[in-house]
């Protein structure tokens, strides 16, 4: 059985960054990827806007992936593509992975294991779109794959449901390639994507955004022929009498991303009901010792740059982790106006730099973030505007702080 210090599942931006940082600690590293090429979803992200934080340059997703792949190859980490992990067994001193590849089935031993399995898109059935099941109903990521990788236009008259970033990016992409985008419909009263994408993908092309409106029903037998739209109230309940039929040949969904954690769950990792990813500490270590989570599998980020950053931390920590070392953690809690804060806990060792990410639960025009260690406020930060769609990063310096005698680290947002 081949043995590695660190095995990483998934060769997207999180997994690749984890591989490089684990190699920097001199660990032996294997990255397992089920697709034919590394890069993950970035392979189909031909649009720009990547790398502004990590490289201080504006890159397309493909360019960003190329750099990460090159760094991984140079690091000496092994990448095994067209391979799939079908079972993981936890042992006292590591994990045994059952791997299916072109060479057949094999077992691999990992001292520590990093899950960088990314996230999956919500589908039509998960957001209660009723009606028939014709061709032409697809997620924004699938539409992106058809258009950018296969060069196929998924429809000529498209309705987009949901205002997530991929939906906005696809609204622009479809328009540029000659399709008519009739509108982006969002059930919530606030748009979902980054502000800059609302501006450069919708406003630039006069694509209307309809808030508090959703698709009730899909029509068509072989191919989508149209949809019934309906207005909804703040509880997303359809308002009778507001139905309206719209003819179209494609319905594209951008209605949210869910971290992919079947493997983590099977290993018994505690899952956070809000983030839908594992509960983890600042290094990404889950409730299962030696099992790490990073990138969008941990919690869905807005930016690939943040995904790489979380991979880097997990890679470094997984490389130096020794079995049996189970640190005591200080719980981190999200209070008023916060949807979530990650990590959900930190080690009770004072450190100079701990990175936190948070999402607010609703749009706040002016807010103060307050962080309390036990009863003592240790940080106050002012924000002009906060939107749930946009994740915020905050760095805490906890050097010299007593993390052993307090019960928790608490984040809250005060509206101004």
């Amino acid at each position: 059985m081949k043995k590695y210090d660190v095995v990483i599942i998934g060769a997207g931006p999180a997994g690749l960054a984890a591989a490089v940082s684990a190699r920097e600690e001199d660990a032996s590293v294997l990255v397992i990827e089920r697709e034919a090429r590394p890069g993950g979803i970035l392979k189909q992200c031909i649009h720009d806007g990547f790398g502004l934080i990590r490289y201080r340059e504006k890159l397309s997703g493909c360019e960003y992936a190329s750099r990460e792949i090159l760094k991984t190859r140079e690091s000496g980490a092994e990448i095994q593509t067209l391979s799939f992990v079908s079972r993981i067994t936890k042992l006292e001193k590591g994990f045994v992975l059952l791997l299916s590849s072109r060479h057949g089935m094999s077992n691999i031993f990992a001292r520590s294991l990093i899950l960088a399995t990314g996230c999956r898109e919500r589908t039509a059935r998960q957001v209660a779109v009723h009606g028939t099941r014709p061709a032409g109903v697809l997620t924004a990521g699938t539409a992106q794959y058809y258009l950018n990788v296969l060069g196929q236009l998924p429809g000529k008259r498209c309705v987009i449901l949901g205002s997530g970033d991929i939906g906005l990016i696809m609204a622009r992409r479809l328009t540029l390639e000659g399709a008519e985008v009739l509108g982006v419909y969002e059930a919530k009263s606030e748009p979902g994507g980054l502000s800059r994408n609302l501006y450069q993908c919708l406003e630039d092309f006069d694509i209307p955004l309809h808030l508090s409106t959703t698709v009730l029903e899909v029509h068509g037998k072989e191919r989508v022929q149209g949809v019934t739209l309906v207005k909804v109230d703040e509880n997303l309940t359809p308002l009778p009498g507001t139905e309206e039929d719209l003819s179209c040949d494609a319905l594209i969904l951008s209605v949210g991303l869910i971290p992919e954690n079947e493997l983590a769950q099977n290993l018994g990792a505690v899952i956070d009901p809000v983030t839908k990813g594992p509960v983890a500490d600042e290094d990404g270590m889950t409730s299962v010792p030696g099992l790490f989570s990073c990138g969008n599998a941990y919690h869905v980020s807005d930016l690939a740059d943040y995904v790489s950053e979380s991979g880097e931390r997990a890679g470094r920590a997984a490389a130096v982790w020794t079995p049996g070392n189970i640190p005591s953690t200080l719980p981190v809690t999200a209070e008023k106006n916060l949807l979530y804060v990650v990590p959900q806990g930190i080690r009770r060792q004072p450190q100079e730099k701990i990175v936190f990410y948070f999402r607010c639960s609703r749009t706040l025009q002016g807010a103060i973030l307050r962080v309390r260690l036990g009863e003592n406020e240790i940080l106050q930060k002012h924000y002009d505007i906060l939107r749930p769609a946009e994740i915020e990063k905050v760095i805490l310096n906890l050097s010299g702080k007593d993390l052993c005698s307090c019960e928790r680290l608490t984040f809250s947002l005060e509206e101004l």
């Binding site: 296969l150 980054l194 609302l198």
Partner: protein, 124 residues
């Protein structure tokens, strides 16, 4: 007064730009790039154009590309027409220039993915 969203970085500052006596006054920017963006947006809006070009390689039928520099927003349809006529017949590396001055925009068109024998055949 015009309301804009800065697209330079993910922060997405909400900007307000107003022309006063031939000068453009900008509010809401967190950095000088935001101010420059608003001024450009009111006088000559610029964008980076990303799309893909047809190739002769069955392993990679479409190659992603972008303009090396930002181009005038109003030129997008014209530039796209020229890009659609292009077909890649040779191997290129990520960052290579495919067309020097695409549709007279002043910007090159560059490949944003490796397209060479090594990368096309590579299956670890």
């Amino acid at each position: 007064m015009k309301k804009l969203t800065c697209i330079i970085c993910p922060r997405g500052c909400r900007l307000e730009a107003q022309e006063i006596d031939g000068d453009i006054l900008v509010k809401g920017h967190a950095c000088p790039k935001g101010e420059a963006f608003a001024k450009s947006e009111l006088t000559h809006p610029m964008r980076c154009l990303t799309t893909s070009v047809k190739t002769c390689f069955p392993e990679l039928p479409w190659l992603p590309v972008r303009t090396g520099k930002d181009i005038a927003k109003e030129d997008i349809p014209r530039i796209l027409r020229e890009i659609r006529r292009y077909r890649l017949e040779k191997e290129v590396h990520c960052g290579d220039i495919l067309i020097e001055n695409v549709a007279g925009s002043g910007s090159p068109l560059i490949a944003t993915l490796e397209c060479c024998a090594d990368s096309l055949a590579r299956k670890e």
